[in-house]
Symmetry: C2
């Protein structure tokens, strides 16, 4: 399997990305790690920092998409960027998966326009894992600011497939993020989606309030990308805030300092839980080939773990399942539309 | 000052509410605590549980609005409910403030229709304090699922006045909750509001991501009530989740158990911080008289603290400031509209 890493994108590129690539190549020996970016820069940084990327194939790409660039830059003036060239290689089948810590808007645009969505899927979503008492897959966590109930329903299906395949959960529980649990809560989007989700054959557990999310009430949480982004970042921020508060408490006196040593491992576990780099990245679900969005601030470990996710994604064949579902979903819609047209006398 | 408590509404009514009223009467001796609800039920419960409400004036109201009742019930079939009668007493000036742990929708409807908004204010908002490294006032945290940029701007002004008066903060920092910090982030609502907030003379610090909220970047956080509700409940849920995780860690071994004893006070502080009952309730800002929304699950302490908030609200005269601002805001809008009409030749 060939995993291509965008060497130039992200807050810590290229140094941390190259270190991550080296780490991934060492850890996943059965697979081929490749890089895309400016060959000269990559070689220079690797030599200066004694990073062993000897023998690693580099696809040359002279430019870089910055965080300030327009999402459309990847298909307009920066087609020759590491991200643009990376997507091209993925779409042509030269590599099996693509990992990038770059500009989220450009990543979604590139994935959608260059690699393309799975036929029948109307919107791709960023599928982020919330590291809570049980892992919760948040769909969408930021790709689509506005969505329809149809999109939400497809997010639920794709998320369910992901949790089945990657976390081995039988009939994952689907919840809709809402401001109350009653069926009629929220705006038109939420009430329409509630109806669709109730009828779609998934294990829909109803509306879920944000305060219940940490306690395992659902495995997949569906929402629009704006609200999802607020929840995702709130979980991240609160984790950081409370770890800081805990650190202060543990410094209270000599006894607590000593006791901190004895529970070192457990505290480390807690820290790891809220450390984004442990989770690597978030796949874009609904795209024809695996695209893993790594956190903008990814370090070497995050990149290595994002590569692991890409490998899992390919190995579990989750895209086959989504493709079958999408074709079926599309068929049902076409039939429903045709029936409507027939009843109204149009055909 | 006369503070009226809705004795019948909330998950723990009337028992905890009556205990809270007794507590408030003991703690705030300079003021008069009154109750509204079914006289017989109140007397019965008080006698059975040895709650001393002797001499406390009770306004009789035979029915109760439940959590399942429609928001409009307070002005339709349940005008004779504790909430409906309470609002009537407030609007007539028979009491100075009203505290209720009841149905949020009915509370907002009753406040808006019976007590009425301050002239010039287009929407009232629930002003909740997020208990983070510094207190953050969240406007709106659930009264209005959809809002306009004009509403957001008024939320910012009202929130700023509240933080000035109640928390003694000079020129409070106003942030807009968004999915990124750049000016053009979010949907049309956020970009329009960004523009208005930049021009309105407040100390606007720009867009704020949910992950930054815990770290004191702003004193007032403005957003629509749907998104605000998600954030509020996420902070609540994550606080609870992490306190639970901490408890597990501290049970690791004998040393940690001993050390837990030595930092008892600090852990208690942490717990208190995320304990909704410590904060009492959230005022509805933009209503002509003080209405304090207590948490649905309020216990005696929460009710006592909501009474304290009501007293502060009246004492600081915050509604006078909001009234002056709203009249001025309205004037400016009228003038701007007139200028537009003049320029277009309409007048």
């Amino acid at each position: 399997m060939k995993i291509l890493i965008d060497a130039m994108s992200g807050d810590n590129a290229p140094l941390e990305i190259l270190k991550g690539a080296e780490w991934a190549a060492r850890e996943f020996k059965d697979h081929t790690i490749m890089l895309v970016g400016d060959e000269n820069v990559i070689s220079d940084i690797a030599v200066k920092n004694e990073i062993n990327i000897a023998g690693m194939e580099i696809i040359n790409a002279p430019s870089v998409i910055t965080m300030e660039d327009s999402p459309l830059s990847v298909v307009r003036d920066k087609r020759d960027s590491s991200m643009g060239v990376g997507f091209k290689a993925l779409s042509k089948g030269e590599v099996d998966a693509f990992v990038s810590a770059g500009n989220t808007g450009a990543l979604i645009t590139g994935a959608t326009i260059i690699v393309r969505r799975i036929p029948g899927i109307n919107r791709a979503a960023i599928a982020s894992i919330l590291p809570l008492s049980t892992p919760v897959l948040l769909m969408d966590s930021g790709a689509n600011l506005t969505v329809t109930s149809d999109n939400i329903c497809q997010f639920a299906f794709m998320g369910a497939k992901y949790m089945e395949k990657i976390y081995d959960i039988d009939r994952p529980k689907i919840g809709q993020l809402n401001n109350g649990t009653e069926y009629n809560k929220g705006n038109a989007l939420q009430t329409e989606s509630y109806q669709l989700l109730s009828e779609c054959g998934l294990n829909f557990v109803g509306n879920v309030e944000a305060k219940e999310v940490p306690f395992g009430v659902c495995d997949v949480l569906v929402t629009d990308g704006f609200t999802g982004n607020i929840l995702l970042k709130s979980v991240e921020g609160m984790g950081k805030f409370l770890m800081g508060t805990l650190k202060d408490v543990l410094k209270t006196n000599l006894v607590t300092k000593v006791s901190t040593l004895t529970m070192k491992e457990k505290i480390k576990d807690m820290k790891h839980r809220f450390d984004a780099s442990e989770h690597g990245g978030a796949p874009l679900l609904g795209i024809q080939k695996p695209v893993i969005k790594a956190h903008g601030s990814s370090d070497a470990k995050a990149i290595k773990n994002a590569v692991r996710q890409a490998i899992f994604f390919v190995e579990t064949g989750i895209n086959n399942d989504i493709t079958v579902f999408a074709a079926d979903y599309d068929d049902k819609k076409l039939i429903a539309d045709a029936e409507k047209a027939y009843q109204s006398g149009e055909i």
